[in-house]
């Protein structure tokens, strides 16, 4: 896809309108650009972010290159992120990372040939009380063992869930949590983009929040 659909352009304008200065919309628009390309940040995507923010494509690339979550090299259907910062490291996070890399056949920092998995080790994701912690498309699982990490990867590969839910994965593959999570979240992630209503990146069983964007929007924004 090269040009954004009318629906995506409409969403882009709504994101720009959230700020006093349209340049501030660069970050959400970069996520939107990724969402339209199944998680990849493309040159075309960045060019369209530039159009909506009044920046040059070079300025947009300069911003995008600063942040680790903008995946200019492309990303798989499932981005598996293993935290290896101090609290997770102390509780053997590197064994979890090795298990993920081995089970998926994808080494740290790369995407598998079939596009199913990207694997990365990441710095602290704020789950230190439930170390070691893993995220799939930024949806969190705490207290993961190497064996459970392998099961998680098989579950993703065999089931290919459209939406990944933190609570579901925690129940299946998690253990010790940082704190009591409370009730289940109704929404999960459709791609390697943080799932939140205002980006249109969250999907699930809930009705859309009042004043927000439609919650259950497929990547690409549907019909025009």
């Amino acid at each position: 896809m090269s040009e954004w659909s009318a629906a995506i352009r409409e969403r882009a304008r709504a994101l720009v309108a959230r700020y006093p200065d349209r340049r501030s919309a660069v970050m959400p628009l970069l996520y939107l650009a990724m969402l339209t390309e199944d998680g990849d940040l493309t040159e075309d995507g960045m060019r369209q972010v530039a159009e909506h923010t009044g920046l040059t494509p070079a300025q947009v690339q300069s911003v995008a290159s600063f942040y680790t979550m903008y995946k200019r090299e492309g990303v798989g259907r499932y981005l598996v992120s293993v935290c290896t910062s101090i609290s997770c490291m102390l509780l053997a996070a590197h064994d979890v990372l090795d298990a993920v890399a081995d089970e998926t056949g994808v080494p740290h920092g790369e995407t598998g040939e079939d596009g199913t998995f990207s694997v990365e080790h990441v710095e602290c994701i704020g789950a230190c009380g439930g170390a070691p912690a893993v995220q799939v498309n930024y949806e969190l699982i705490e207290g993961v063992t190497p064996d459970k990490a392998r099961e998680l990867c098989r579950w993703l590969r065999d089931g290919r869930p459209e939406v990944v839910f933190s609570d579901e994965m925690q129940a299946l593959f998690g253990g010790q949590r940082s704190f009591e999570w409370g009730p289940k979240e109704p929404e999960g992630a459709v791609a390697a983009v943080p799932a939140i209503a205002h980006l249109g990146s969250a999907a699930g069983s809930s009705s859309p929040p009042s004043g927000g964007s439609p919650a259950a929007q497929p990547p690409g924004g549907g019909s025009t």
């Binding site: 959230r18 970050m27 942040y67 230190c128 170390a131 940082s178 704190f179 992630a189 943080p194």
Partner: protein, 433 residues
Amino acid sequence: MTATSTKILTGRMDAHPADSHTIERYLATGGYEALRKALETMAPEDVAAELKASNMRGRGGANFPTGVKWGFLAATEPRYLVVNADESEPGTFKDRMLLERDPHQMIEGIALSCYALGIRQAFVYVRGEYPRPARRVERAIAEAYRHGFLGNDVLGTGFACDVVVHLGAGAYICGEETALLNSLEGRRGEPRIKPPFPAVEGLYARPTIVNNVETLSNVPWIVTNGGAQYATIGPETSAGTRLFSLSGHVAKPGNYELVMGLTWREFIYDIGGGIPNGRELKAWIPGGASAPWFVPDPHLDTPVTIDDVGKHGSMLGSGAVVVMDDTTCVVRAAMNIVQFFAHESCGQCTPCREGTGWLQRMLWRIENGAGRPVDVDLLLDVSDNISPGLKWPPAMTTICPLGPSAVSPITTITTYFRDEVAAHVEEGVCPLG
């Protein structure tokens, strides 16, 4: 009520785990009454005066008194409030809990702060790796608008307050307030030279207050009960309760809301359940990865207060306590932390950009049996170029404190574990395997 059981921030989520994040539960437990009280009976400066009287110090890591910070806000319009929810300091997961489990408490704190400061637009900068907390906050904001606690005419008083959620995208440095502001403006998250401080020139070069999630979550209680009452909780210069994130080699990791003043022994052993698997305590980080570590002798019986930790050469920082048992290789642990800072360095300042990577490479070769006898002193020499004098609080050759933070584990292991570091070099192998 015992001294350590005071619950300002976590009482609701403890009592009502199923729905503490909903507006129904919040309203049923006294929520938004502080906002109503302030709007109907207090002038904005009265609210600010309560914050000043509370002596609360900011909970983001710098521990600067919030009421004093508010006093620096310049008068020109428009002004902004920015909530720092970019919690990324390794070991810290307290704000995540407040965002997920009691978002209305923070939102009421935002509305109260905006009223006190004459601000009508607030932004909540949530780190990109926190979509679940961000979803809860976004839903709570929508609920608050529906109930008239946010919007153009809050509770029919004419006070206007808008709140927008902004997601980060994976950059620790954006927790530094001026980097956060650049990021919110749609720029690379590089810290700015201060002065000017954000209170004078912040977001869009406008006067801006940047406050942490936990800081703002305390504001409703302070307005309800009075700043003087808050100031009576805990030691004089460490007033109030504090959320500690406990992790690592400890039996009961988790977030604990504590009144400061207990000892480290009480915290780690009585509250945290001690060291599991029959192991011994070797060291702990008292305030996040940026803080120099503590060791049982001489720190275990010192008090957990902002000032006492400072006096002993470290900081309470973000309240993140990471415990290491006697199986921990200190070189490997230090390398992990230095690697973190090397990865997160924004690259603006040479001592940090080059120094953190150099320290990381030296630690790697020491840990992997290729260290040279000169490397221990070289670690300190490079560290001295990042933070001259290796003193505490650290001196800086950089725009922000990230570079000096990478020095903390180096000074720790060369002070308390010099023999263990030297053994790596002499034996050509990590003695802990």
